[in-house]
Symmetry: D2
Subunit: 371 residues, 4 copies
């Protein structure tokens, strides 16, 4: 592969994660050659620091400079969600491939604009739903597609963490309703993505969104600000394939740090996964010797591609950053003419439609078709 | 305590479980003295066999004889649900204390009749929601009541098993719609009971009930019979105390044998329980030394009353039948003038109202107040 | 089966456990009919209380009266170990079947005397190694015997608890060196029994016994008494079948309440068990589809006899007292002419020889043949 | 930090792991600047391929060229163990800092030569005992050192995998007795390192080494070659601090992929760790509220340095390659004048002495002092 130059906007949690993944990927995946070209952050000192530490060639405090940079082929967008639209449209307009963090937009309309622009421009897009890059998720999807679970009868998914559980956690952009939603956007989008990855489209939703902590303190002030976005979202869903399920997003789940989990039941088997133990997938197969009835704890190994590129021996385990590296590899391969593996902006738009539908359903307290 | 004579109607799974519990309880709990007097089963051979093995004094194939027996003080009803109403009313009319298996009735109206008759007669009643008799459930309830979890922010409960997951499992009385419902009645009632035990009344429900296996073979025939009752029920609920939650009942969850589980989140802590490991309760307490952030796996021991009556040493573990023994002990103590600990027919009626409300909610596809 | 009358000596933890098991067994196992005849305790009030609560017909403060009682057919011995020899010999001399708690004697010589006397008298004996009565242990043994694990290559066993971990735990009869040994006798005997149950005789031992807490307070005194018996025993062993292993006994393992666990490796598979989760057995089978490589968590169910006699549904779980009930059932069946399933006094003698050998090995700091 | 140029000898599992770590470290740890200069492999094509993919500047098939290269400041040695001595001595003679994989030598004499040469030359050395770089291991060590477990009463450690469990696994250099030993060298060295890291020096050993698979097929031949090295090693050990323990190394443990685990008991608490779930540490603290008695499952987070450099959010989890990155960071900081954190060649020599002592102990079947 030719070198592909990358510009990263944002130097926070995800900006750093993207840069680390682009740095790592060429060592892990044969033939990939991204180069870290420019990093942008509105805080120039942060940009300069990230530039030096992460090995970019240049930095800027103006993301538009980055987007306009002719050397840059990929624009990676890791800023707060509210900026994703503008940046994506600008990058697409400049003919760049776009790697955007999730959720991509405050609402499906914006997401559709972004998707349509990208598709019209013919650029490759990648959205940061990194958890489905886990080789065990690939295995789960393949087993479902192969019919190894029989006919699917139900799904139960959750993404719960506790970073907002302290009522004294101060107000931040994540609570801004113009960003679209709360836990359902930040966490729910992951488990919706996972549900779709495994089982395909969700076509109808009944949701109940709830704000548990009614006001949050304003940093540097004695005031408290009322909160409008959801702390918890509970969805009942119907998949286009016929089965149904439930989904919960929750950022006030005290004690939970990464409870991104699902259970899929089928007439012939069941799969259970929990990101808290991301190197394990639990599998029950009906019809086994009854003496040995139970769940199999599958451990990741080289037989689960691309684990073997990280480590030739089983049981050594992947970490979070490795999932991001796989995401980047898939993106680079697609740019280089490979089969896009997504999730791309179209998929992110589909996820956003489910979220939007959930918001309406909750407000109107009734079932809503995802449309 | 004076001897209290027991008549058990039914000799199946639960009939046997009741009898074993009445046999065991006097050895475990000081002062309790039930005596197995009569056993009834419509199948006289079954009645005779149970009589001999379980140590009853007499048997009958006519449950009315049992109810009318002046020696009998407690009538234990373990037949299919459809008979519970008639038997309970007869027993109450005869002035007997009633121990009835769950769910007590096909609908809340019948349940209310049963409850009102019992209350009017002043008899003590006990319903077989044995799982809440687990000492760890008592601990959980106490911790919540004490405020050790802070303000409760959410509940997620499930009771999933797989005994109906095979589409070739033949039609039986459990699928008879005149019995009221399917999984939500058979399993859902347990997790609804548990939710109420921990958090109090549920006041509003949005439910989605689903029949996954559309037809079942008729035993001894080539025909298949259409199924109307639910295989899976998914509820979103609002508790009177203010928090919300979700509840699932599922009898087609391939691989699950006893997945009766919950998570309760509060602002100060979280509890996680799974009947698959019934001697463990997982507890996260916010504000602990951050180096040691995590869930505590509490193991049952003598400090969790009444475990110590079964075994003086910790870690030895209770089994299912022991839970039934605790249920029976609570019942006998209430008959002997102690504080009733329930669940009684009133509680069972409240549970049944939630189920009925769920049925209506699912049919009408909207939120329904439990009334 | 004819009624078989039982006398129980001792009313402590195990006295009670025996009585509960004899009470329960006839309800669980068809055809068994033990009757609780006499209970003896040197503390007459304890004897009277146990008699009333547990349902014996008579009590006595003189165990010799119990042994001499012509109605008594089984003598159950649950006193401190130091009395087992005298009581067993007396019971055997009186032609009684003997159910003795473990360890049966302070040393192999005494154990042999007991065994020889019992065998000469032709009575049936049962020793309280209840943990091997778990249906999953039966499954494990059967799988090993069937060759399902291939050739066995190693064993690792442990029984660790923490009831002596507090250095201020007062001196008691368990520390009396005339009782033979400490943790290796009280706990080690269980895991040695389990090792032998699964893999057959141990023929050579290298042991290291250690007293961690050097002195213990004397109850009701300011003095401390030096401790001679072992708190921890670590053994390397060679089995007669050719494989080797390690065994640990530890009663100062802070936090461990019932860590009785093993792993058996074979060329074709592995089994892992932990009494902390006694209803689970973990099984790895080599050669499975590599995508699904991992350990299977087998859950107990009716397919694992005699679980189904306790409960017809899987996943409901047995508890500790249920294991004791199975032990009693095996004993009663053997008395009634069935195949003795042990462990009997001969097996207990074999276990004691391993313990004695370990003591010598540790003292002499060298390998010792079990002879 | 100034740039530090690295040469890596070997391109297999560990050669690649080293290179990936040197690539990643500057992105994760602020201020570190290694540069991949030369890679050597006796197979020139492998060297060329690794050079291109991993981003070295040059490659060579002659490791002596690498060692002599004046640009190279660090020599990383990842070849089969038998070459470590010669390469290390050459690198040290050339004034290079040495990063050597474990075990460093076939015996303690060679290890001592290496250590003495390095210390005389004043170079920094690092040995690839990467598992102790886990932040949770650092926490465990600190808790023990702080006295949070009280007085330590026992240790149980194991490193078991199954890569040699198939008797048809062909003969390779790992079975060559001139390499020193089998499982005890390859795996045992890790758990011995961990034991020393937590509890300090081991001063006496009683070992039993066993060759389970007596002959192995020779690749490309019908012959089988007898095996002399150990498949399983079982050690009883005494630590200089006074406590004792047991250690097992096992490369035929069917089903185990990364069972590197320990339990440390103290009078006030216990720690349990298993590399199979490397982001969890289980902690029991005596004296807690008895209602909440149990083990705490500590999950890694930013509070466990340097996890936060990889990811700012808790629960996201580190993987194997991240541990190697921490190892490299510690090494680079020491070269740059920081406090060496080891394990260095001196520590590796100490580990090797334990292994050598175990070999003698097993051969002579008696306790041996580590000297």
């Amino acid at each position: 592969m030719r070198p592909i130059r990358v510009g990263v906007i944002g130097t926070g949690f995800m900006g750093r994660a993207h840069a680390l993944a682009y740095r790592a990927v060429s060592g892990i995946f044969p033939g990939l050659r991204p180069e870290l070209e420019v990093v942008a952050d509105i805080d120039e000192k942060a940009a300069a620091g990230a530039c030096q530490q992460l090995g970019f060639r240049r930095y800027t405090s103006d993301w538009k400079v980055l987007v306009a940079d002719p050397a840059v082929e990929i624009v990676s967008i890791t800023t707060p969600n509210v900026f994703h639209r503008e940046m994506t449209l600008a990058a697409v307009a400049a003919g760049k491939h776009v790697h955007c963090e999730k959720p991509i937009a405050p609402n499906a309309r914006d997401a559709r604009d972004m998707m349509e622009a990208a598709e019209a421009a013919g650029v490759v897009t990648q959205v940061g739903y990194n958890y489905i890059k886990n080789p065990l998720l690939g295995l789960a999807r393949e087993m479902i597609a192969n019919g190894e679970l029989g006919e699917i009868t139900g799904f139960r998914g959750i993404h719960a963490e506790d970073y907002m559980s302290n009522p004294e956690h101060p107000y931040s952009w994540r609570f801004d309703p113009s960003g679209g939603a709360g836990a359902i956007a930040d966490l729910g989008s992951h488990i919706i993505c996972m549900a779709r990855f495994l089982l395909g489209p969700i076509e109808e939703v009944m949701a109940d969104l709830e704000t548990v902590v009614k006001t949050r303190p304003v940093r540097g002030s004695a005031d408290r600000r009322p909160i409008e976005v959801d702390d918890i979202a509970r969805l009942t869903v119907r998949f286009a394939r016929g089965c149904r399920g439930s989904i919960e997003a929750n950022w006030v789940a005290t004690g939970r740090k990464m409870h991104l989990a699902f259970e899929v039941n089928g007439t012939k088997g069941t799969l259970v996964f929990n990101q808290e133990r991301l190197n394990e997938l639990h599998y029950y197969r009906a019809g086994r010797d009854p003496r040995h009835s139970g769940f199999l704890r599958i451990e990741t190994g080289p037989q689960h591609h691309p684990y073997g590129l990280f480590c030739v021996a089983p049981g050594h385990q992947l970490g979070f950053n490795d999932l991001k590296t796989i995401e980047v590899a898939d993106f680079l391969k697609a740019i280089d003419g490979g089969e896009p593996r997504g999730p791309d902006l179209r998929e992110a738009y589909e996820i956003q439609k489910v979220i939007d539908t959930a918001l309406v359903s909750s407000r109107e307290r009734q079932w809503k078709v995802v449309s």
